[in-house]
Structures are given as C-alpha cells and as structure tokens.
C-alpha cells in the first residue's frame, strides 16, 4: 500500500475516500468529490496534493477516511489504479456484479484494471 507516498509527475496520485452517508468509494476532483473513478484528479505535485488532502480531511461531513494513493496516468491521460486494492475499489467485488461495475459503464471500469 502506498499510503503516505509522495506524488510526482512520474508517480502521480489520487485522493480517495468513502461517502459518509452511503459508504461508496469517491475520488477528489476540483476540491469536491466524484463517485466515478475515471474523473479523479491526478496530483503530480507534492505541495498541491498535501493541500488538497488537508481540504479533504476538512470535509468530514461528506467523506470518511480520505487518503492519497499512488495512481497511473493512462495513455489517454485518465487516472488508473497502481495497486490491485485500488483496482478492486473502482470496480467492485469479484464474486458479484455489484458496486462500481454495476453503477458505471462496466467496460470502461473493467478496461482500467492493472
């Protein structure tokens, strides 16, 4: 796990958490939150990421447990997971078609697996 890692242009990161009311995974974008992992903001600068994480922690009325985690920039510039745990979070469980894969366009979420 890459909690507490330092983002850089070579190793960007995303800020992610769970929605307080509903529990599903969310990602930070433009200071707010999206339930779609494809819309997550990629942070490449340590200082900007740190400030964003502070802002995320300050939004505890919306989200639970925000953290900065390593990600990849896909060929089209979209954020991709760097670790299988994050891949599972953005897809859903492997035993049922539940979670994100059922809520979003599955082919697009599926295509992003590491």
């Amino acid at each position: 796990m890459s909690k507490g890692f330092t983002p850089s242009p070579a190793t960007p990161g995303v800020i992610t958490a769970n929605d307080l009311r509903m529990g599903h995974c969310v990602w930070m974008r433009d200071g707010g939150w999206t339930a779609d992992p494809r819309e997550a903001e990629l942070f490449e600068d340590e200082a900007i990421a740190e400030l964003a994480l502070l802002a995320a922690v300050g939004q505890s009325h919306l989200v639970v447990g925000p953290y900065l985690v390593e990600a990849r920039r896909g060929p089209d510039g979209s954020p991709q997971p760097a670790h299988f745990r994050e891949a599972f979070r953005r897809r859903g469980p492997s035993n049922y078609f539940h979670g994100k894969q059922a809520e979003l366009s599955p082919s697009e979420v599926e295509a992003s697996h590491v």
Partner: protein, 551 residues
Amino acid sequence: MFDARPQHNEYLRHRARQFRQQVERRLDGSLTEEEFRPLRLMNGVYLQLHAYMLRVAIPYGTISPDQMRTLALLAEKWDKGYGHWTTRQNIQFNWPKLVDIPDMLDALADVGLHAIQTSGNTIRNVTTDAFAGAAADEIADPRPYAELLRQWSTDHAEFQFLPRKFKIAVSGGEKDRAVVAAHDIGLRLVRNGKGEPGFQVWIGGGLGRTPLLGQVVREFLPEADLLPYVEAIIAAYNLSGRRDNKYKARIKITVAERGLDTMRDEIEAEFLRRREAFTGVDQDLLAALKSLYAPPAFRNEADGDYQDRRAAHPAFRSWTDTNLSAHKTPGYASVTVTFKAPGQTPGDASAAQMRLLADLSERYGHGDLRISHDQNVVLPHVHKSDLFALYRELQAAGLATANAGLISDIVACPGMDYCTLATARSIPIAQEIAAHFRARGMEDEIGRFNIRISGCINACGHHHLGHIGILGLDRAGVENYQITLGGDGYDIPAIGQRAGAGFPAEEVVPAIDRVVNAYLELRETPEERFIDTYRRLGAAPFKAALYPADA
C-alpha cells in the same frame, strides 16, 4: 442482567434509538468521525472497501424461523438481496447505507436480534456447536450456558473496554465441535466422578497473527461456578493484558508471556472474591434457561420409506451420506445445508434461501435453525421419514449440495472483495478450488477434507485450522497465497504449519491438486483422511508435491 429474548426487547429498541440519534449527530456535524467510529463499532457497523457493513449477532448460532425471516427482510430491503454467514456464527450485510442502519436495527429489535458487541474490545458473540441439543455424543446441551454467558456479558459494565476483543466458545459433545482450543476462553462440558456437570476450562487460544492453542486452566469447574470463574478470568486479563501494543493485547499473549501458573493463581484468587458476590440469581436463571432449551416433542415413529428412498435415489443417498449427523433421538438426524454449491461464495445466503429455510424448519425441523461456524446452516432435528421431502425442496432451491465436510465445503473470509483489512482475495480462490475438484468428479473419493482460506493475517477464515490452510498476502503489489498443512479444528486441535514460499493466484489450484494427488497415492485405505495420512507421514511428502522443483 440483560435479556434479549424476543419477549423482552425494549432495551434493544432503546439502543436502536440511541444509534439513530448518533447517526443524525454525525451527519449534522455534531460528531466527528473519530468520535462516531467507536459508537458505530459498538453497534456492529464497520466501513469496508465498497460500503458499510453491518454484523448481526446470532447468539451461539441459534436462530428462530421468524428471526431468519427478518434477516431475509434486511437483505432484501436494505442490502443487495443476500447476507454472509461468518465463521463466528454471525451474519454480515455487505451493502447497507449508513442512513438506513437505524431502520435495520429497529427491524432486528422487533425479533430480539441486535449487533451489540459484534465489534470492539468487548466480549463477542458466544459460540457453540451447531448440533447442540441434538448430537448423539452430547454430555449436556451447551445452549443454556451460552445464553447465561450472553446475558451476563452483554453490556457488562466492567468489560466494555478490555485490552482487546474476547471470544468464548462452549462445547457440549464428547467431540469438540466449537473449537474451544482456539478461543480466549473455551469451555468443554464434562461430568466429574459423581456424574455432576461442569466445565473443563481452557484459556489463551486464538488464531490471527500469533496462532496459539489454549491451555487447560481448570480441569473441573462445577456448573454453579461458571459466571464467577469466567468473570475472574476476564478481570485478571483486564488488569494484566497489555494495552501498549494491540498485536500483543489478546489473552493468548498474556498467558504466553506471564505463564499459565501465574494467570491461574490470579484467577483463582479473584474467583474466591467474585464468588461471594454471586447470590444465586444466576443459578435461578440457568434453571429457567434449561427449561427454555428443553428438547422439542420428538415423534416416536418409524423411518417410513427413508431406506427405500435411499436405495432408489443415488443423489439422495449421497446427500444423506455426507450431510447428516447422528442424533441422540432414535428416528432423527441433524441436517447440514451447505452454502458451498459450485461457484457459490462460501456462506452467502439469498433472502429467498433464508425464507425457505425458515419455512422448512417449521415444516420438518421443529422450528429450529443453526448457523454453523463453517458457514453452513443446520436443521438439528429432522425425522428420517421427512428427509426425502426436505431434500426435494432443498434441491429445488439449489441447497442440496452433498458436500458437507468434503473438499468443496471450503471456509473463506470475505477477503479483499469486501474487507478493508484484507491483503488479498479469498472468495475467488475458494470458488476455483471447489470448481476444480467438482470438475474432476473426485470429491467423494477424496473424502473428508477441510480447506480454510483467509485474506489476511487476522485469520477470519481460520486458515491455521484447515487440513490445508491458505493465507492471501500482498507480495510487492501482487496477490500471493501461502499454504499451511496439518491444521485441525475438530479432532485433535492443531495449528497448520507453513509449507514454504507462497504461490501466485493462478498457481494455487494446481498446487492444491498436487497435494491431493500425493495424498490419494499415499493413503493406506479410502477411510484414511488427508489429515490422518499427514499425521502418519509428516509434511515431507506433501511439501515435495507442492514444490516439485526442490525435491
């Protein structure tokens, strides 16, 4: 003492109201997550990978048909149509929304169920044998004692902030079916020379990152001393258990570090003090509980066409060979309904299946249902003349898989498909192994074989107790599975030993297949189980099968 039976549940409604207010205060910002987290955990609410999770206690695995129907209601109304039987006789709902959980707790309170003390550093759900009150080898029914312990431990003011969680198991049979050696306190019902009932008391067992088998701290504890003695054990642990390191805080470490004799001296001294405070109320309650768990009105009649049906229907015969257990009453059997059909997630039950089991238990099983710690459901009392009809109805619902105790009856924790603590997935590995041996058509030939899978070192899948145990780990960002051999949670308690380097996910099934093939070649008779062969020959031939390049 607290009494959570259906007729006395105002307290549960009170607790549900209290939690509703806490949720409201969290949502309006009056409570921070740091303040709210311990409050939600006290009510069995975890935050998992994709959603919240609600863990509901099924006290010692005993559940009434109406309670089962309420679990079905929860699954359907507030979850995704199913629930998951855990290895501690509880049920987990994987998809509740925080804002719905107060309604779920209200619905549970209506039938005397709750999620209190299913998390946190408290005394957790007391577990026992799923065949309690039915097993042919039973010394005494453990349920009255388990219920006494539950009422005493629920909201016990002194034990709400223990160094770590605390698990008690009670076993009533000649054969231990509650894994007492793997619990913080294990109680085995025994009789002394005078034929009086009492307990052999074990302490200091547990799995997790430091698996240790318990030790006997008292050979015979008279029945009447149960509560003061258990209270003395936990009081001693509460003072001497470590609080500086959560990985060294369980009583197993306290006993290992301080020694059994030191602990026993402290417990016995505390016991003498505590016993003074018990005025006999507990014994009155115990007597009432014994009558509450009096056997149902068993029918005294012939087996009907049971043997003819067995002779005529090979699939029914196969199911009766594997899924029945000996009952103490002539003409009866206990039925294990496995939730391990090919391709199924171990222990997952749909709302429709829960309702069907509730109905079938009323029609054929004296209205009694049990959740077993191997993630199956037991109908403890079925008359043999009803078995064929029961089988047909289970079969129609996909619940008549004839594999109880076989290699596809795999125990698995939710793993990284759900759990935030997990380091790898468990469920797909269980599904692949079961599918593989089913496809080979060898389950019956392989015989009794216990595989257990955990998705992290915390060992909720009890992998150390599997004849073969599988532990999922994260090795440099890839799922990797370590294999242990020779564990046993039933006959001779044993912690499995690590066989060697782990395997990537796709190599697990071939590796297990090689071990099974080695066993089939080495066993002396078809009756010799894998664990027997392992005990006879040791780990070497199986390690050689796992790692052929090293041999």
